[in-house]
């Protein structure tokens, strides 16, 4: 692994990389040519205003959404052109994903929810539930093992979802607003634990957040505005705003 900076390196230097990604929903563009890359073991924060395309970017990088244009690479292999079956296998075996909304299966208990990725990977029920218990404990919610999501607070459900995203000990964790429903102290506990666990395991983390205090847990931040990387050039908002008042 070389230490070429992500923006100037080739895609082989990066564990996860998106190049010139474009993605629209209907006619409205969410990503407009953004490039991003992360090295193995790095914790990267993706920040930006609401609606700027953070979640869309994360879903593209995790191989869940297909970009309209551009490329997504994982460990030197181009994944956006792979079949749905191949990508879903990759997600099951190498990736952990924490979604922004609606993550837990309401019919299952916390322990069953956390065990689910292991069961899908062919692990037997008993060891899967044991592992689930360990991960629930790491995020301070071991006592919720038998409870269903409807019987938990938002913050508790978030911790359970975090345990589920990490239970397979993935190579890459994609986390969308990992502390969204938590207050400052609870968020700090979860993030501290998240960073400790992933650093120990050498997990690469891409986390989306609108909160600079959360981004400060990462090694590096990229800011996205209007579906593009904020590279110090004016965004459409700033251009529109200053076009008439700017003294140039």
């Amino acid at each position: 692994m070389t230490s070429t900076p992500p923006d100037s390196g080739t895609d082989e230097d990066l564990l996860v990389a998106g190049r010139a990604l474009v993605r629209s929903y209907g006619h409205s563009p969410a990503l407009r040519g953004i490039s991003v890359g992360t090295r193995r073991g790095e914790v990267l924060a993706i920040t930006g205003p609401s609606g700027s395309g953070k979640s869309t970017l994360l879903l593209c990088l995790a191989g869940i959404l297909r970009p309209d244009a551009g490329e997504v690479w994982y460990a030197g292999r181009r994944i956006d052109t792979e079949s749905e079956a191949e990508r879903s296998r990759l997600r099951r075996t190498r990736f952990g994903v924490l979604f922004q909304f609606g993550q837990l299966v309401p019919e299952l208990t916390a322990a069953e929810n956390v065990a689910m990725p292991l069961l899908l990977a062919g692990v037997k029920r008993r060891p899967a539930l044991t592992a689930a218990g360990t991960w629930l404990d790491r995020f301070g919610v071991a006592d919720l093992a038998g409870q269903r999501p409807t019987e938990m607070s938002g913050g508790q459900a978030q911790r359970v979802a975090m345990a589920r995203a990490l239970v397979t000990e993935p190579e890459v964790l994609f986390a969308d607003e990992p502390t969204g429903a938590l207050d400052t102290l609870a968020g700090e506990q979860v993030l501290t634990q998240l960073v400790r666990v992933t650093r120990q395991a050498g997990t690469t983390v891409l986390m989306v957040t609108h909160d600079a205090k959360v981004a400060a847990y990462a090694d590096r931040e990229i800011v996205i505005r209007d579906g593009m990387a904020d590279d110090g050039a004016p965004t459409s908002a700033l251009r529109g705003a200053l076009g008439r008042t700017g003294a140039r």
Binding site: V195, A216, G232, L238, G246, A247
Partner: protein, 178 residues
């Protein structure tokens, strides 16, 4: 806030020599502007004159500050009153950052404003990472965590304000558009 009140606060747990007080201050407020030992001695003398502290029993051999001081009943009352008093929220924003961002948004032109705001955010975030390492390090004292938290939240407030300012300027420009 006068240093006298702070020293009274540090004496609340028992008698201390002047130099101990300075060391206590440094440990409790690790990120505050440092104080000189001479300032501590001068303040102690004033507290003594006002009857808020009194010399304690112990004598230390040698050393420039041989007297340990303890808080008197009047000192305790003064401290309690001060701790109960609300600090007036600051009426002015005199932060140079706020002034510069405002000017950048209003007069610098879009290229330069955008570039400056991006670099300012990067600088803030780098400092926030340092403070986060402090708050999450298991060896950091509680006083250290509190001080780092304070700094983190203020840096975060700067960034939030910058984002809000950007959004406001953009909204205003849209409204002005024919």
């Amino acid at each position: 806030m006068a240093l006298g009140h702070v020293l009274l606060g540090l004496l609340a747990q028992g008698e201390r020599h002047g130099y101990d007080l300075k060391r206590q201050y440094d440990a409790r407020f690790p990120m505050a502007k440092p104080i000189a030992a001479a300032q501590v001695y001068a303040t102690l003398e004033r507290l003594l004159r006002d009857g808020l502290v009194a010399p304690g029993g112990t004598e230390r051999a040698g050393g420039p500050d041989r007297t340990a001081y303890g808080m008197t009943a009047a000192g305790r009352q003064e401290l309690d009153e001060w701790l109960a008093q609300v600090e007036p929220p600051s009426p002015f924003v005199s932060n140079p950052l706020a002034v510069k961002v405002t000017l950048a948004l209003l007069v610098a032109g879009d290229e330069r404003a955008a570039g400056y705001l991006q670099r300012q955010r990067a600088a803030h975030l780098a400092r926030m990472r340092e403070y986060t390492r402090i708050t999450t390090h298991p060896d950091t004292s509680l006083a250290g965590v509190l001080a780092a938290d304070y700094a983190l939240n203020h840096l975060d407030a700067d960034l939030r304000w910058i984002d809000t300012a950007l959004a406001r300027v953009a909204t205003l420009a849209e409204e002005l558009q024919p």
